[in-house]
């Protein structure tokens, strides 16, 4: 671990202008600093910023401050009542201790759990050393992604929260040296391509200030389903966030996002297209699942994720339309 300087930002304006690495709960950043993967020279502690409230917006939507802790967000009354998929996703992630520390902003930017990324003795990791190849291909890759991968990187985006936010079509608000902007979550995460080191749309110095959610669709049902080896404290092998609305037995609105299988929180437009207007039946759910995984590219050890993800989608849709 190299030496670094530390300062605590007092205001959002001050933080957004500071040249350094923001630290929220530190559960990703400090861990990776100890591994020598992250080597910031300056840490800017943003936990003192007044960004820890959850507010209902005039349009009925929700504004979540970047400093809201994952536990607080999961147990927030409005979130539990109107954005259940988000609460469920958060509670399925990590452990209570980690959730108590983790912030909304930090969760959005958490990094992959790929073991080769976390170990600097592997020089062939394009996420760390652009253009160096990928140690996970041909290595231990059971947990790796099957959607959105490239020859340069197959790392899974690990977050549960972000899968729910993707299904909820969240917007990420940032403030930077050049001012404020709002980025739809669909545009926020980048596919690895040949530059897996570029993970999102943030510009240097930009601070995530909050996340907004559109007003909840009153008639919709929401489900987050996470499948994994053990019952707790494990990243998803496959997960699905579904927001669905049916009437007369037909699907009128649906959003499907997947976790544990994609290189970014994975919105499945293919599944949604296969479902819109169709009867809410097992046959159509399976067809949607097939559509979602059509482009899947499994590695040597994770072929099972294709079928598992399909089952996950089918079950989440079944529950959300029951």
């Amino acid at each position: 671990m190299q030496s670094f300087s530390y300062s605590k930002a007092q205001t959002v304006d001050q933080a957004a202008g500071m040249d350094g690495r923001f630290i929220g709960g530190g559960t990703t950043l400090v861990d990776l600093m100890k591994q020598g993967v992250e080597t910031p020279k300056t840490l800017v502690d943003i936990t003192g910023l007044p960004l820890s409230s959850v507010e209902t917006l005039p349009d009925g939507g929700l504004k979540i401050g970047a400093m809201v802790r994952n536990s607080d967000l999961a147990h927030h009354e409005t979130v539990k009542a109107q954005y259940a998929v988000l609460s469920e996703a958060l509670l399925s992630g990590a452990s209570p201790q980690l959730r108590n520390m983790a912030t909304t902003g930090g969760n959005l930017l958490q990094r992959t759990r790929c073991p080769y990324f976390r170990d600097t003795s592997y020089t062939n990791c394009s996420k760390r050393n652009p253009g160096s190849g990928c140690a996970a291909i041909g290595g231990h890759n059971r947990m790796m992604a099957i959607l959105g991968t490239s020859e340069d990187c197959i790392a899974t985006h690990p977050s549960d929260m972000c899968v729910a936010l993707t299904a909820l079509e969240a917007t990420i608000h940032v403030q930077g040296p050049k001012g404020d902007r709002a980025i739809a979550i669909a545009d926020f995460y980048k596919l690895p391509g040949t530059t897996p080191n570029v993970e999102n749309a943030l510009e240097p110095g930009e601070l995530i200030t909050h996340v907004t959610l559109p007003a909840p669709r009153k008639a919709s049902k929401q489900v987050y389903l996470k499948l994994r080896d053990r019952a707790s404290y494990e990243f998803a092998l496959a997960s699905a966030a579904v927001v669905a609305e049916t009437s007369g037995g037909h699907i009128r609105f649906v959003r499907v996002a997947l976790g544990g299988v994609g290189t970014r929180p994975w919105r499945s437009h293919e599944a949604e297209a296969a479902l819109m207007g169709k009867p809410a039946t097992a046959t159509h759910f399976r067809a949607a699942a097939e559509a979602a995984l059509k482009e899947a590219k499994p590695q040597s050890e994770n072929g099972f994720k294709v079928e598992l993800a399909k089952r996950c989608i089918v079950r989440a849709l079944t529950t959300a339309t029951a």
Binding site: H140, R230, A231, S232, L237, L308
Partner: protein, 747 residues
């Protein structure tokens, strides 16, 4: 010696809380890494990043020049570290190659250098700055042990197994595998070594202070009496801390070099490469039976992997020769070398992986016979140990099976795969038998009664977290009638009389006779003194008619209240204390135990809940019935069994150390990626002890319970998984990948 005391509390067999509980819950119990000595410095090893080859160059100049760095040890500058004498049972080491012996690399993570610095941070930074280059060769870490061309050796044989198998009406011939599992006690391995002149003291995380002292003396080239080892508390070891590992010698050598106390704490990641693991096993089982389910042939051919520098035999055939009655039996085993760190005994070594294979084969046989699996076990119950013709000292496997069946509700089981339901889930019910050896080794203990009104026991054994302090205290309470507040138990220090290694579930059985004998001796002296101290209340009494009850010396014909507090007796005699030593021998030399086959037995019944739609399976319920002699402390005992069952869930469903096939690195070496059962994975657990005393082993009739609880859990779960899903998993852990093979799609 007959006991001269009453046992008013009936404290033996009572579920008393641990006497050391408050120290642990308040954080005042000192574990090895908690010792912080004046002037202490820190050592951090540098690990090889290849698994096979040689060190081409090692550049320590940058590290050496970093702030706080005192020394960088490596094979080019380290003093001689001696080898342990091969097969010396009193001075055993885990890895026979001393650290930094030469420039050869045998496994990923092997120590190639050691940095010593003023602070842990400085040592860690400098260790990262050591630059090693290797001539690397392709390592062999394959998880497949067959095809194997080496020599097998016979562990046990009777009859003509191959002919009997060929002729059998019903047969099972399958190969079963268990993965590498890493011991993950919460306390990391740690050594604090401090020299004073030519004597050295270790504050160690060891399951055997005496062996540790003996081995370190040998390795460091100093007399035994110059080495002291202290282990006041251990955050468990599961076998991984039985014998010293290379870091222990490195810490001592570093301390001798810099002439300061040195602390070396092995990191969690290093735990996966440098301090042992349960080796990979591959076991072919051939089981033949008559059409009505009587075993006629049983053959086990077991392979386990070992390291390049040690021949570690897991002993998978441990329970096979005696568990069932079968006229024709052969057990063979062989080792396969891999570029991995040396394996080490892990909770229930041999029997646990061996029983996974054998009990899975028995389950398959029951299916082939269309016979109830409990019925199959009962039918083949053995009345003598057929491997050697000996009688069992105490065997109640049949009752374990019957009691377990009743408690579990086994009679309601419908045998067809996927035929049981609850709350929209498929239920699977499975079972397995369990067994583990019963042992007793030599032990010496001192017990003293003090003029301060306290009774103390001293013994150089250690409490590995299982409750041994409390076992000592229970015996002292039984003998003296004193409450726990007036009892002190001092363990984990080699300046005390030699006690046993904490392994093989033998600690309780081993210490009981010694501590009881020493207490009796001290009490006899006390009564003698009471009778002969001029002017004292009991002067002139016949010592044989005196008793010690509730801490008071009195005439047998009178009540304790009419007697004298024992400390008053000592004070009147102007004695500071009265004490006695006692040494008890091993069961192997005991005429009472000779010629008997001594084992514990058990039955495990498991229930799984299966959601075929999403391939989700959870273990929901385990009923375990244990025949492990008399249970001295049912609370600590049940705690052992429950913990073992949870570990068994991990063994069945989760645990596996994965080596990168290209460079041999254990790639999931941390507690997030190496999956163990969490609280959320823990089933409802029902523990029953049959509590039949085994007096052949000791006068208390106690055997041990540390390991038997894990035996049989994984095969019971695998059997339940088959019953629920129709998928027979023969290679652990049982993964979602396997469950997806089930043809069932809906409950």
């Amino acid at each position: 010696m007959a006991s001269t005391t009453a046992s008013p509390h009936g404290i033996i067999g009572r579920p008393v809380p641990r006497i050391d509980g408050p120290l642990k819950t308040t954080g005042t119990a000192q574990y090895a890494a908690d010792f912080h000595l004046p002037g202490m410095v820190f050592a951090v090893p540098v690990q090889a990043t290849v698994a096979k080859g040689t060190i081409r160059s090692l550049d320590v100049t940058a590290a050496q020049a970093m702030p706080g760095v005192l020394e960088v040890l490596h094979h080019g500058n380290v003093e001689r570290i001696y080898r342990a004498v091969p097969n010396d049972p009193n001075a055993t080491v885990s890895e026979t190659r001393p650290p930094l012996e030469d420039n050869r690399i045998y496994y990923w993570g092997q120590y190639v250098a050691l940095v010593v610095a003023e602070t842990l941070e400085q040592a860690t930074a400098a260790a990262a700055a050591v630059k090693a280059e290797y001539s690397a060769e392709t390592p062999q870490v394959s998880g497949e042990l067959e095809p194997f061309a080496g020599t097998w050796h016979t562990v046990s044989a009777r009859g003509k197994v191959d002919e009997a198998f060929d002729a059998a009406a019903v047969k099972v011939d399958q190969t079963y595998g268990t993965p590498v599992e890493t011991h993950n006690p919460i306390e990391l391995h740690a050594t604090v070594a401090a020299w004073a002149g030519d004597t050295v003291t270790f504050y160690e995380s060891t399951q055997g202070v005496v062996n540790h002292r003996n081995a370190m003396a040998q390795i460091l080239g100093v007399p035994r009496e110059n080495v002291t080892v202290i282990t006041k508390f251990l955050g468990s070891g599961f076998g991984g801390k039985l014998f010293p590992w290379p870091h222990c010698a490195l810490a001592a050598v570093a301390s001798r070099r810099v002439q300061r106390p040195v602390k070396l704490v092995v990191t969690r990641t290093m735990m996966f490469s440098n301090v042992g693991h349960r080796p990979l096993t591959e076991q072919r089982f051939r089981v033949g039976a008559s059409a009505d389910g009587k075993l006629v042939a049983l053959r086990q051919d077991a392979l386990n992997h070992t390291s390049m520098v040690d021949n570690f035999d897991e002993g998978c055939g441990e329970a096979t020769p005696y568990l069932y009655s079968v006229p024709n039996l052969t057990v063979t085993s062989a080792l396969v070398q891999r570029n991995v760190g040396s394996p080490m005994a892990m909770r229930g070594p041999g029997a646990v992986p061996g029983l996974f294979a054998m009990e899975s084969a028995m389950d398959e046989l029951a299916v082939a016979l269309k016979m109830d699996p409990v019925e199959l076990r009962l039918k083949n119950d053995a009345s003598i140990d057929e491997s050697n013709g000996q009688k069992f000292s105490s065997r109640h496997l049949r009752e374990c099976l019957e009691t377990g069946s009743a408690k579990f509700g086994w009679s309601k089981r419908t045998p067809a795969v996927g035929s049981m339901r609850r709350d929209g889930k498929v239920l699977g019910w499975g079972m397995a038998a369990a067994s583990w050896g019963a042992y007793r080794f030599g032990c010496s203990t001192t017990v003293e009664l003090g003029a301060d009104g306290k009774v103390r026991a001293r013994c150089a054994t250690q409490d590995v977290g299982t409750g041994l302090y409390t076992i000592f205290a229970q015996v002292l309470a039984e003998k003296t009638g004193l409450p726990f507040e007036r009892i002190e138990v001092l363990l984990g220090d080699t300046t005390m009389p030699e006690g046993p290694l904490s392994g093989g579930s033998w600690s309780t059985a081993t210490v009981l006779p010694a501590v009881a004998g020493a207490a009796d001796g001290a009490i006899a002296s006390l009564l003698q003194i009471a009778a002969s101290t001029p002017g004292a209340k009991l002067e002139g009494a016949d010592a044989k008619t005196l008793r010690l009850t509730e801490g008071r010396v009195h005439r047998a014909t009178e009540s304790a209240a009419q007697g004298v507090p024992f400390e008053t007796v000592l004070q009147a005699a102007r004695l500071n204390r009265v004490s006695a030593d006692s040494t008890s021998g091993s069961a192997f030399e005991d005429p009472k135990a000779k010629g008997l086959s001594m084992h514990s037995f058990g039955a495990q019944f498991a229930e799984v809940e299966w959601e075929p739609g999403i391939a989700r399976l959870r273990v929901s319920r385990v009923v375990t019935v244990i025949d492990a002699g008399r249970i001295i402390n049912p609370r600590a005992g049940a705690n052992q069994i429950k913990g073992a069952v949870v570990m068994g869930v991990g063994m069945a469903m989760l645990e596996e150390t994965v080596y990168d096939p290209r460079n041999g690195q254990p790639i999931n070496g941390n507690l997030a990626d190496y999956l163990m059962a969490t609280c959320a994975d823990s089933p409802e657990i029902d523990v029953t002890f049959l509590d039949y005393p085994d007096y052949a082993l000791n006068s208390y009739g106690a055997r041990g319970i540390g390991e038997i609880g894990l035996a049989g859990v994984a095969p019971a779960i695998a059997s339940a998984v088959y019953h629920a899903t129709g998928v027979r998993v023969r290679k652990l852990p049982i993964r979602i990948e396997d469950l997806l093979q089930s043809e069932m799609r809906e409950a």
